[in-house]
Amino acid sequence: MSAISTDLVTVRGVRKRFGAREVLRDIDLNVSSGSITVILGTNGAGKTTLLRILGLLERADEGTVIYDGIVPSVSTVTYGASTASPAQDKRYLPLRRQMLLAFQHPAIFSGSVLSNVTYGLELRGISRADAEERSMAALRDAGIAERAHQHASSLSGGEAARLSVARALALQPPLLLLDEPSASLDPYGTKLLEDLLLHMRDDLGMTAVVVTQDIFEARRVADQVAFLHEGRIIEQAPRDTFFSHPRDDRTRRFVAGELLV
């Protein structure tokens, strides 16, 4: 990572509530281009909601998210009371097609494993033959090529996670959003995933935001670490600074494995 980097995504003042519950209180976050930003947080801290807002699957109640230099036509999404869900707004479709969110519990289409990967490519107008070729290569890299022609519902949890990674490898979106990517993976699968993540950053120039509660995963892959606690990013810093010199006492205790009450 170069010393001077531009921010691909900038989040300012994002708030989100579900009924009476305030999930995100006032989120500021910078995601620098070509980097891996890990958002750490405990269960229920709002990590998934934040990721879904970044992925334009969910609307925020307030705030602004700037996507800089991904597509020329749209860069700023400003949320207010009257803003519809960005997933419903055709204007954001080109932007949505430059990002991919991999869910914690990977959803699958009924159909073959291969067709689960080609779907996104064919939506982008890529021919069936090219889509299949790229998808097979992605499945090989993700280590489940031998399952390509089987029914996707026959995959185990870990294999479904690999399918999720294969979709990312096939689409190569400039912005990749991963929700607890190693939650259902064994140590070998986790290693493979993390290697692929570094490959996507280093060789494909992709930017990733990874949400996890695993401090060790953050240490292994993060360029930047942000700590999400009670709906706020209370600290964001380069990895080494984050772990060696946490500014906030709550960060220090979380990193040390103490309970936050």
């Binding site: 992925g55 699957l57 997933a87 419903q88 055709k90 479709l93 949505r96 097609r97 990002m99 991919l100 969110l101 869910f103 519990h105 959803a107 699958i108 289409f109 009924s110 159909g111 073959s112 291969l114 067709s115 080609t118 779907y119 996104g120 939506l123 982008r124 069936r128 022609h149 089987q150 029914h151 026959s154 979709r167 689409l171």
Partner: protein, 239 residues
Amino acid sequence: MGDIGRGFVQAVRLILSLDPGTYEALGTSLRVTMSALFWSALAGFPLGILLAFAHFRGKQGVMNVVYTLMGFPPVVAGLLVYLLLSRSGPLGPLGLLYTPTAMVIAQIALALPVIVGLSVLGLRGADKGVFDLALTLGATRAQASIALLREARLAILGAVITAFGNAISEVGAAMLVGGNIQGATRTLTTALVLETRQGSFDRAIALGIILLLVSFLVNALLSRLGEGTSEAGNVRHLD
């Protein structure tokens, strides 16, 4: 027993002799049922998606109405459409009473709640994650809805088959708003009632057999279409 046996033999003869009256009634039945089914599906599936996944006030109330209408007595639906279309009714000037269009309207009133109700149940059963998955993979909302419908295709197929079965075999509403006019609004079911009343059991039985046969063929065709959709999902080698 004698009547039934004789009727059966003559029924087969009637079917084979391509009796014009019988086949006219068959044509009317199919036309009315298929167009009612078409319009009900066109409106019903989007409504089903909306009711399955949108959140709004009074949704449970709407669903209760839909579920109630699924068991709507056909003859009552027929009566309502009759009152709407009769000469002194609000839509009287259109002159639709005793036309196939009137029958289609009555059948839509019966089929639409079935399609909406059963598709809501089927879609709720399908994996909701698939909708978000399609969106994040770059689908528009319409494309994501299609992906979701594909996941729920068996339930969707069940809705279509049920609605078809109801519509083709329905007699009360067809009689009331169609009037059983020969060559115009006489269907297999209304003709069957007429022939039975007149004591022409052979013709009545022939109509019954044709009705069953058509039901069987259409259901077989629909099931085949349902299987076909998974082929379209380019699954080639299933273990």
